[in-house]
């Protein structure tokens, strides 16, 4: 206003005429003196306030005064006087002075607007900064949600609102936090396909929506909606576009004023930040879960390996070596060894029809049951039948089955008896390298009819008993080609005179050479035993 006062003072000095400038802060508001350099300061009224460029005259206590509107965004009027009856000169001065004042007022208006915008932007920038800080400090959105909603609501002047996050499984938008109307019930999850809910609609369309009072009212939004509602999607921005993750709703603007496009833009920016935070939190959570799972799997694997017996347990009646490699940390392949009294040794290999935790649990159950039942009877069919009785229910409930071969070598009598429930890879390698398969006597446990069978064959002093699971013969190379049983048998024949540990090592060397850098897709187990 100092500039205006200086201009009017200079004018007064130059022309010897008083000048006053009035401003009207708002339509219909009374005029206020902005600057004066003499003359009557009583604000003009009535027809003198016409919104045109006509110069009008009025009588005042100090004499006649000319009054005219100063054009521009600021509502302003200029008064010059007192003037003489012949006012041609003052009218000319007025036409010179008005554009100067208009220019000054426009400059002031722009400066004022820039200040307001800066203040507004400062508030927005401050909000975005605060939310970044909040989100950066927290791992879960739940911890930050209420603070974020409060900050956003405060900035746009909303009293009520809610923040929803998408739960893809059941197809719901779950409320994470809400600023509810007094006495309102808790906000409920909203089905994403709800036809009325604004929240669901915004989630589906990924476009913000401003609805007026009484429009698209839904019981889902009743707890946090009062009048118009601004609803904005929470979107995680990706190179391919965006993935909707939730929705922010704001309602009940203080003073009843409408939400603006600026509010929508601001909340959309916040929504984008929340979207990134949700995604980051999910990735962090997944990473933590994965690490925890990996750690548990390592423990479970160690535990499972401890269940497997030391191969020396069958000494001195036999020398044995065995090894299990689980595909998923824990697996369903296993072996067991039983010293059954003078000259007799029991060897069991099994493969649960899956791998991972559930297969490992069945395996553990079979291992413990086998240790009991093997001691109660010398007949392998009876032992396996007792085993089946123990695990039958679990196999039925889990839809798994168990292929196993249980062989009892009687060195003294020179006999090998076995029960084989669908285990394809059990062999006796003779002294001359001939491989005789121990044929399946029954389908896998859990699949076949009741009543198991046993078979027998002679056992020579130089015979080698070898059993392996299909993870060995089905091991795949980088091109997906299976190793094949024949190549395993070649190694067994070639190494048949070596100690069992070298035979087992030889088989795994073959498997590893075939797979290269490929990871095994199934568990792998090998057992080799001789009695010489």
């Amino acid at each position: 206003m100092a500039d205006l006062a200086r201009v009017l003072a200079a004018f007064g000095e130059a022309y010897g005429c008083g000048a006053t400038l009035w401003l009207q802060p708002a339509l219909d508001a009374p005029l206020e003196v902005a600057a004066t350099a003499g003359g009557d300061v009583t604000p003009p009224t009535g027809p003198h306030l016409a919104d045109d460029d006509t110069i009008r005259s009025r009588e005042t206590a100090l004499g006649r005064q000319l009054v005219a509107r100063v054009p521009g965004r600021t509502r302003a009027w200029l008064g010059l006087g007192p003037v003489a009856d012949d006012d041609a000169e003052p009218r000319r001065w007025m036409r010179v002075l008005i554009p100067v004042l208009a220019q000054l007022l426009q400059g002031q208006w722009e400066a004022s607007r820039a200040t307001d915008e800066l203040a507004e932007r400062y508030e927005e920038i401050n909000l975005l900064y605060s939310i970044s800080e909040i989100l950066g400090r927290t791992v879960t959105l739940e911890e930050a949600a209420r603070t974020i909603l409060l900050e956003v609501a405060e900035t746009v002047g909303a009293e009520y609102g809610a923040l929803f996050v998408h739960d893809a499984g059941p197809g719901l938008l779950r409320p994470v936090t809400a600023l509810r109307l007094k006495g309102a019930p808790a906000a409920l999850p909203i089905p994403t396909d709800d036809p009325v809910s604004v929240t669901a609609r915004v989630f589906r369309t990924r476009a913000a929506l401003l609805v007026n009072a009484g429009v698209l009212e839904s019981e889902y939004e009743a707890p946090f909606r009062a009048g118009a509602m601004l609803t904005v999607p929470i979107v995680w921005t990706t190179p391919d576009g965006g993935i909707p993750l939730g929705v922010v709703c704001l309602s009940g603007r203080r003073g009843g004023a409408a939400f603006t496009a600026g509010d929508e833009k601001l909340v959309a920016a916040v929504g984008s930040q929340i979207g990134t935070a949700i995604q980051n939190a999910r990735l962090v959570r997944a990473s933590i879960d994965q690490e925890r799972l990996a750690s548990e799997m390592r423990l479970a694997h160690d535990l499972q390996m401890r269940l497997l017996p030391d191969a020396r347990v069958v000494a001195p009646d036999a020398t044995c070596a065995a090894r299990v490699e689980a595909a998923d940390g824990v697996g369903g392949d296993f072996y067991h060894l039983f010293p059954l009294g003078p000259g007799r040794t029991g060897v069991l290999i099994g493969d649960v029809s899956s791998h991972g935790y559930r297969a490992a649990l069945i395996m553990a159950l079979v291992m413990s049951a086998a240790a009991i039942h093997a001691q109660t009877t010398a007949d392998p069919a009876e032992t396996v039948q007792a085993l089946l009785a123990t695990v039958e229910e679990e196999l039925r409930e889990t839809e798994m089955f168990l292929s196993l071969c249980y062989a009892v070598v009687d060195r003294a009598k020179g006999v090998l008896r076995w029960t084989n429930t669908g285990h394809p890879h059990a062999f006796v390698i003779g002294a001359e390298g001939e491989a005789v398969r121990l044929e399946a006597t029954d389908p896998p446990l859990g699949l076949g009819p009741e009543g198991l069978h046993a078979a027998s064959r002679p056992w020579g002093a130089h015979d080698l008993l070898v059993m392996f699971t299909d993870g060995v013969s089905d091991a795949r190379d980088a091109k997906g080609r299976a190793l094949g049983e024949a190549r395993v048998l070649e190694v067994l024949r070639a190494r048949r005179r070596e100690v069992p540990s070298r035979i087992v090592d030889g088989v795994f060397a073959l498997v590893e050479g075939h797979m290269g850098r490929m990871r095994p897709h199934d568990d792998q187990a090998v057992v080799a035993l001789r009695t010489a």
């Binding site: 493969d351 899956s354 389908p443 699949l447």
Partner: protein, 110 residues
Amino acid sequence: MSLQVTKHADVVVIEVDGQLIVGNRQELKQKVLDEAEAGARKVLIDFAKAGYIDSSGLGVLVSLARRLRELGGDLRLANLNDDLQTLFELTKLDSLFQISDTRERALESF
């Protein structure tokens, strides 16, 4: 793996294209159960285009065969390649299924 379903009189034929393994066995299971739900009792699974079945896949076949038998129906298999035929023989699973070497013979057997 992909599954193609056709009907021949009252027999539903499901052709398996690819490997039947742990990752996709539920797909076959659901398909057969859906057909059974819709009233099918005779189901033939044709493995002409399938090269491999893992132990989980075998388990599903047995489970489906049991389910259909409980409903008074039957599940039969056709066109197992040599490796699969050997696998069924070695594991004695051939004693649990009626297996035909062609689809036509299998359809006639119902």
